[in-house]
């Protein structure tokens, strides 16, 4: 049984970058983590107080809460390799 991935994507409104990031993320997860992940999208325009908790500066930011260690990936997630390394799906080279 593989570990379950808890992912949280911080966005600010429906911007181009946010939309791209979310669709990229979904695509990678389906390919590599099918059935073992959950994605929570936080819109900081609606919940600004949540920005402090995860130290969010850049938008969009993807935070991998589980499994440890916590990792952040910022940007529209267009580089698939980097995202997979960031999520510890691929080992670091």
């Amino acid at each position: 049984m593989e570990q379950k991935y808890e992912l949280r994507l911080y966005v600010a409104g429906k911007t181009q970058k946010s939309v791209t990031a979310l669709s990229n993320l979904k695509k990678y997860c389906e390919e590599h983590l099918s059935g073992q992940y959950s994605i929570e999208v936080v819109d900081l325009l609606l919940q600004p107080q949540l920005a402090e908790g995860d130290q969010i500066l850049a938008i969009p930011t993807l935070v991998k809460k589980v499994p440890e260690p916590v990792r952040k990936i910022i940007g529209d997630l267009s580089n698939k390799e980097k995202v997979l390394v960031g999520l510890d799906i691929r080992p670091r080279s």
């Binding site: 911080y10 600010a12 911007t15 970058k17 791209t20 990031a21 900081l44 325009l45 600004p48 107080q49 920005a51 402090e52 130290q55 969010i56 500066l57 850049a58 938008i59 969009p60 930011t61 260690p69 916590v70 990792r71 952040k72 990936i73 910022i74 940007g75 529209d76 997630l77 267009s78 580089n79 980097k82 995202v83 390394v85 960031g86």
Partner: protein, 588 residues
């Protein structure tokens, strides 16, 4: 903001000037003529440990406490609780202010190791956080300390620069007065060239160590749309926060007094027509070693204390106990003034801390004690901790401050026969109102002290060199003797005086002899007059005798003639026996 606007500001004050926000930092508002530009970002830059964080934090705290302007402090460097602890020693109770919703501390941390960057992003998250923090307490002031850390945490510089530009515009739109701190770069004001984005007001902090003594300085590099002091101003961080000390106040409009204050030496007061120094003036007493400068200062203090004026004595050379003991030997009891609380000593070695610290310590002591008279003994010792020009700058500021408070100050200065100290005299002398100079007069193998007034602004003064004596009864001035060979002092003067005294005795003797002779002559003359008088009397008597005889003779003859006539008339008639024998009265 253009040059045009600045000119028009000067021409017509009724035009709306740039609105300013008071920082509440001691002295800074004076230099900036009212504070930082309201609703605009200000850049504070400087090297590590120069006080940027503290500076910006004090801006927030003072705003919250004194001006009712809540503030947000965003730390990119230290954690909020670390800052809380760091500033607790300065008396800033950030926790209470946070609970009262006057301050909001936000800590933004970027750890490069846990961040991957892929593709396009922006810093909207920072904006949202900042906006949320500002709105949650209605902040008017914002500090971003040190925003350059973004460059260390994120690798896409292009995005950061674009976002920073947007951030500063956004802060302006928000109408908050912001301070952004930046680390000093090698060739630019900040490492990342932040000054490019923040162009309204830039303040540079500096921390220099000269001769192992550190001095903090501040300079306003630019301030658009406003006049400002352009000098480097020393500033201090102590247990009450930051104090910036303007080198000179921007105006010379101090109140002046024409009352005078006695020097404590009667004869010295007489050298001034007004009977002493002006109140609130500054007096320099200079002289070589052992000429009695401290004694003059002590006597000045003693006199003021006797008049119930409070005095503060800054001793940079001797301890208070030493001064009190030494002054007792010349008949001054300073201890009783100390006991009464009229006199306070403040003794410290000049090397204990830098000049600025000294100046602030002096400021604080004066503001606390509120004296009428201040003595600094000696200022030349301060040169050991600062260059000549630093000491001069410090004294200018001190004199400025004292004159504003109408405090009379006396400095003593040691002169040596070296170029440096001559400069000191010259440098300081232009600042002081009165200058007493004590000089060694060496004559006949002994040293004596001569005192004269080099200058005294605003009153005539004696141009005479007076001999200055330190006796067990106190200080005295005697007129210098002018002998046939010039000025005489000390034992030569005594000798001359003795010699003149001898002459006086001889003279007195001669005079009395002449008097006696005169008396004798008079007696002789009087005797002569007496004998002449008696001679005259006898001559007169003789003359009188002849005259009487003549008279008798004449009357007898007349009688006889009449008798004969009678006889002839009677002829033969008769001859009365009576007529014949009648004796007529003889007139005498």
């Amino acid at each position: 903001m253009s040059v045009k606007r600045e000119t028009s500001l000067r021409l017509n004050k009724k035009l709306t000037a740039l609105p300013k926000t008071k920082t509440g930092i001691n002295g800074l508002d004076e230099i900036t003529l009212g504070g930082l530009p309201s609703g605009r970002p200000t850049l504070i830059c400087g090297g590590p440990g120069c006080g940027k964080t503290l500076f910006s934090l004090e801006f927030i705290v003072r705003g919250a406490e004194d001006f009712n302007e809540p503030g947000v402090f965003v730390a990119f460097e230290e954690k909020a609780d670390e800052i809380l602890m760091n500033v607790a020693s300065l008396g800033f109770d950030l926790e209470r202010l946070q609970n009262e919703k006057k301050i909001r501390m936000d800590y933004i941390h970027i750890d490069k190791t846990e961040i991957e960057e892929t593709g396009e992003y922006d810093l909207e998250g920072l904006f949202i956080r900042l906006g949320y923090a500002i709105d949650s307490i209605g902040a008017k002031r914002v500090v971003l300390d040190t925003i350059e850390n973004l460059f260390a945490g994120l690798s896409n510089e292009g995005i950061i620069r674009a976002e920073l530009r947007r951030l500063f515009r956004w802060l302006k739109d928000k109408g908050v007065t912001a301070i952004i701190t930046g680390e000093k770069g090698k060739e630019s004001l900040t490492r990342q060239g932040l000054e490019e984005y923040v162009s309204d007001c830039v303040i540079l902090l500096d921390h220099r160590v000269i001769n192992q003594i550190s001095t903090r300085r501040l300079r306003i590099v630019k301030y658009r749309g406003s006049l400002h002091g352009t000098n480097e101003y020393p500033f201090l961080i102590d247990d009450e926060g930051i104090s910036v000390l303007p080198v000179t106040s921007l105006k010379l409009d101090k109140p002046v007094s024409s009352d005078t204050i006695s020097s404590g030496i009667g004869a010295l007061d007489e050298m001034f027509p007004m009977g002493g120094f002006y109140k609130g003036s500054s007096i320099l007493v200079s002289g070589t070693a052992g000429t009695g400068k401290t004694s003059i200062a002590a006597s000045f203090v003693n006199q003021a204390c006797l008049k119930k004026d409070k005095c503060l004595f800054f001793a940079f050379e001797e301890s208070p106990a030493q001064i009190i003991r030494n002054m007792r030997s010349i008949g001054m009891d300073l201890q009783k003034h100390v006991d009464k609380g009229l006199l306070q000593f403040y003794a410290s070695r000049p090397t204990m801390f830098g000049l600025e610290m000294h100046l602030v310590a002096i400021h604080k002591a004066i503001q606390k004690f509120k004296p009428k008279v201040v003595v600094l003994d000696p200022i030349t010792n301060l040169i050991t901790v600062g260059s000549f020009s630093d000491v001069k700058a410090m004294l200018v500021r001190l004199i400025d401050f004292l004159q504003n408070e109408q405090i009379t100050v006396m400095f003593t200065a040691l002169t040596l026969n070296t170029v440096v100290s001559e400069q000191t005299d010259d440098g300081v002398s232009s600042l002081v109102d009165a200058w007493l100079y004590i000089k060694d007069i060496e004559l006949n193998g002994e040293r004596n002290r001569g005192l004269y007034i080099m200058k005294s602004r605003g009153m005539h003064h004696s141009n005479q060199v007076r001999e200055f004596l330190i006796t067990s009864k106190g200080l005295e001035l005697v007129d210098v003797y002018l002998g046939p060979e010039g000025i005489l002092t000390g034992s030569a003067r005594e000798a001359q005086m003795l010699q003149e005294e001898t002459g006086q005795v001889l003279h007195t003797y001669a005079v009395s002899r002449k008097d006696r002779e005169l008396l004798r002559k008079r007696k002789v003359l009087e005797a002569k007059i007496e004998s002449l008088k008696s001679e005259f009397e006898s001559a007169e008597e003789e003359l009188n005798k002849i005259y009487t005889e003549e008279e008798i003779k004449r009357s007898v003859m007349e009688e006889n003639r009449q008798k004969i006539t009678e006889i002839r008339k009677a002829g033969g008639k008769f001859l009365s026996g009576k007529q014949l024998n009648g004796k007529s009265k003889i007139k005498k």
